[in-house]
């Protein structure tokens, strides 16, 4: 390219190289995601072979039931709704450097409050308002549940991993107590809350069985992503996460921000519980604990706390778990195999990222 080239031309050339670079980057990221997943499937296939199951038949079945059959894909998309809310909550916390490992307790308490309040509200107000109020109450209860760990971390410096873990144990038990003693439906023999009639639940999308909670979940995680990456508030939280001491010295009110982070994170976990109840389950049975929170934590890490990447990983997790549940019923492979599969996928993805990072480093050096 000669020196006399018009600035506009060089700019377009730059744009073109940038576009190529972005495309290569996207290709690279896709390869770095799909490659490890394939490798993980092969490793998990060896385990299946070892216990005498045909891996190809199993994977075929999982794909068919989780992704390609109309009913399966609808179930998969429905399962994504609570997971997206949980992932959104974790993105806020992890970006701000707070290890909120108490998602399951906050989720269950949100679920129980929503399950208890919605059937009462629908009797006195229109259904949409009842759902809205239930969402708000579930969110507030989950926020309150995170207040103690937040205060302890903000003002006493108590490590939030211990406190949130303990609050999650407490929350799980409390949710059971509430279901068994306080909100128990007198009309049933098994302890569970009153069931929200199907017509009062969150509407389903376009004549399918997909809950509209999916849209709420997508909205939540995208909003969280944009707030964390594009706003001053998000920047403040990321500073707190990157270096709390620097945040204090730059004049940020770290205790207040800490409490805000916990409130947002727990509130989203509570909404996850509410969206699962108001959209799908309709009630909470005693001892119900899907433990979504634990599976979502590594997913958020692997997505590097990026909202859009998290959506992709949550989709993968849903396909595997819905497909795995069907395969358990039909092929006699316990659904616990899904846990093994998810675990191998996580480990191989983490390894691949490390190898990629190392490769780039050595190339640059």
């Amino acid at each position: 390219m000669s020196i006399e080239t018009a600035p506009s031309a060089s700019a377009t050339a730059l744009d073109a190289t940038a576009a190529v670079a972005t495309r290569r980057d996207i290709q690279h990221r896709l390869l770095m995601t799909l490659g490890p997943i394939l490798a993980a499937l092969i490793i998990a296939g060896c385990i299946l072979l070892a216990v005498g199951v045909d891996p190809l038949a199993y994977y075929g079945f999982v794909l068919e039931k989780g992704l390609f059959s109309p009913l399966g894909i609808q179930q998969t998309l429905t399962r994504m709704a609570p997971l997206l809310f949980l992932a959104a909550g974790l993105i806020v916390a992890f970006r701000a450097g707070m290890w909120n490992l108490g998602g399951d307790g906050q989720f269950l308490l949100g679920a129980v409050t929503a399950a208890a309040s919605a059937p009462l509200f629908v009797q006195v107000m229109p259904a949409w308002l009842a759902l809205f109020c239930s969402f708000v109450i579930a969110m507030v209860v989950a926020m309150i549940w995170s207040l103690l760990p937040a205060l302890l971390r903000a003002y006493q410096g108590v490590n939030e991993i211990i406190t949130t873990l303990m609050m999650t144990f407490l929350g799980t038990s409390l949710a059971n107590v509430l279901v068994k003693l306080v909100f128990r439906d007198p009309g049933t023999t098994v302890p569970q809350t009153r069931t929200l009639p199907v017509e009062d639940r969150l509407p389903r999308l376009f004549g399918t069985t997909i809950t509209s909670g999916l849209l709420l979940g997508l909205a939540a995680i995208i909003i969280v992503h944009l707030v964390m990456t594009r706003t001053a508030f998000g920047l403040k939280l990321r500073i707190v996460g990157a270096n709390p001491r620097a945040a204090i010295h730059s004049g940020l009110g770290v205790p207040g921000l800490t409490i805000a982070v916990f409130a947002i994170s727990a509130g989203l976990a509570g909404l996850a519980g509410a969206v699962d109840i108001l959209g799908v389950q309709g009630n909470v049975r005693a001892d119900w604990n899907p433990a979504y929170g634990l599976a979502v934590i590594p997913v958020v890490f692997l997505a590097r706390m990026n909202g859009f990447a998290a959506i992709g990983f949550v989709f993968l997790l849903s396909v595997l778990s819905i497909g795995g549940e069907s395969a358990a019923r039909r092929l006699g492979v316990p659904k616990h195999f899904t846990l093994v599969l998810v675990s191998i996928v996580l480990i191989v993805l983490a390894l691949a990222e490390y190898i990629d990072h190392r490769y780039n480093q050595s190339r640059r050096a």
Partner: protein, 311 residues
């Protein structure tokens, strides 16, 4: 209500408390060593499950409890080896790998149990206890504390052994340095990664032993997900104990009493949901934290992989 507080009942309650406390104690002691060395070991639940399953299988087929403990500890150590390779040697994120290992072992042990025993849950024969003379004649606490399996005494002895290691030996100092200022340890000519690997493997062995105890002595059988959060309780205990093994013992006993109380209440037919009693130890600890929780005093480099020369 006199029956409730009879000697037999109290003794059984205490016996149950010790039985429930030992796995927590072993897991807590193990986690404590990892954390001292700067590795946050969230995979300990998976290590306990591996220990529980392999420990049970070992004891079931060999007929020897001790062989079961050995295979259990080996199983925990095998999982720990994966953790050490991934998180210590090449420095992957400890929380991701820890949770992945826990999920994977939950699934794997349930899967293996399904294909091996299908839906049957074979039991091990009752364990033989070691009776300590004289002390076991004390009413109430005698039969509860001094008629236990030998491994219980060994576990309690381990508490003091650990205390000795941390306070009086070079290894203890190295572990502490690996967690607080790994670069300084490196400069002193001691391999940080090796120190941390030793800690993680020890954690795995102890957690596996705890799992094996849970399956072989606590329950007498293996069921999927048998640990039910015991590993996470171990993490809580280790963090609360702030590096002191004796505190892990006290904490484990507190949780053990509450766990034992839930079973005892059910046996006595008292109509309180067990969930309420299960909340008690956590409530107690939270209140303690609110009242006395100052800076928790965790190792400075906890959870941060060490890479020589990195800033």
């Amino acid at each position: 209500m006199t029956g409730l507080f009879s000697e037999v009942f109290l003794s059984a309650l205490l016996f149950g408390a010790v039985t429930a406390a030992i796995p927590l104690l072993l897991a807590g002691l193990g986690e404590q060593m990892s954390e001292k060395a700067g590795v946050l070991n969230i995979g300990i639940e998976g290590m306990m499950l591996a220990g529980a399953y392999l420990g049970f299988v070992g004891a079931f087929y060999s007929g020897s409890l001790w062989l079961g403990f050995l295979t259990g500890a080996g199983g925990g150590m095998a999982v720990a080896l994966v953790m050490a390779l991934l998180c210590v040697r090449i420095g992957l994120n400890q929380i991701v790998i820890g949770i992945a290992l826990t999920l994977g072992l939950e699934g794997l042990t349930a899967l293996l149990h399904h294909f091996q025993f299908s839906r049957s849950y074979p039991r091990l024969p009752a364990v033989d206890v070691t009776v300590i003379p004289l002390l076991s004649d004390i009413p109430v606490i005698g039969p509860a504390l001094f008629k236990q399996h030998l491994i219980v005494y060994l576990a309690v002895a381990l508490v003091f052994g650990m205390g000795y290691i941390y306070r009086r030996t070079q290894l203890g100092l190295n572990l502490q340095a690996a967690g607080d200022k790994p670069a300084a340890l490196d400069v002193a000519g001691i391999d940080v990664l090796r120190t941390r690997t030793v800690a993680v493997l020890t954690t795995g062995a102890l957690a596996g032993l705890g799992g094996a105890y849970l399956a072989n002595i606590g329950a007498g059988l293996f069921i999927p997900f048998i640990t039910n959060g015991a590993g996470f309780l171990g993490i809580v205990l280790a963090m609360l104990a702030r590096g002191r093994p004796v505190w892990v013992l006290f904490g484990a006993l507190l949780f053990g009493v509450c766990l034992s109380l839930t079973t005892a209440m059910q046996v006595a037919g008292i109509n309180i949901p067990t969930d309420i009693i299960q909340m008690l130890p956590f409530l107690a600890v939270m209140i303690m934290l609110v009242l006395f929780g100052r800076r928790a005093g965790l190792p400075a480099a906890l959870g941060i992989p060490y890479e020589r020369g990195a800033r």
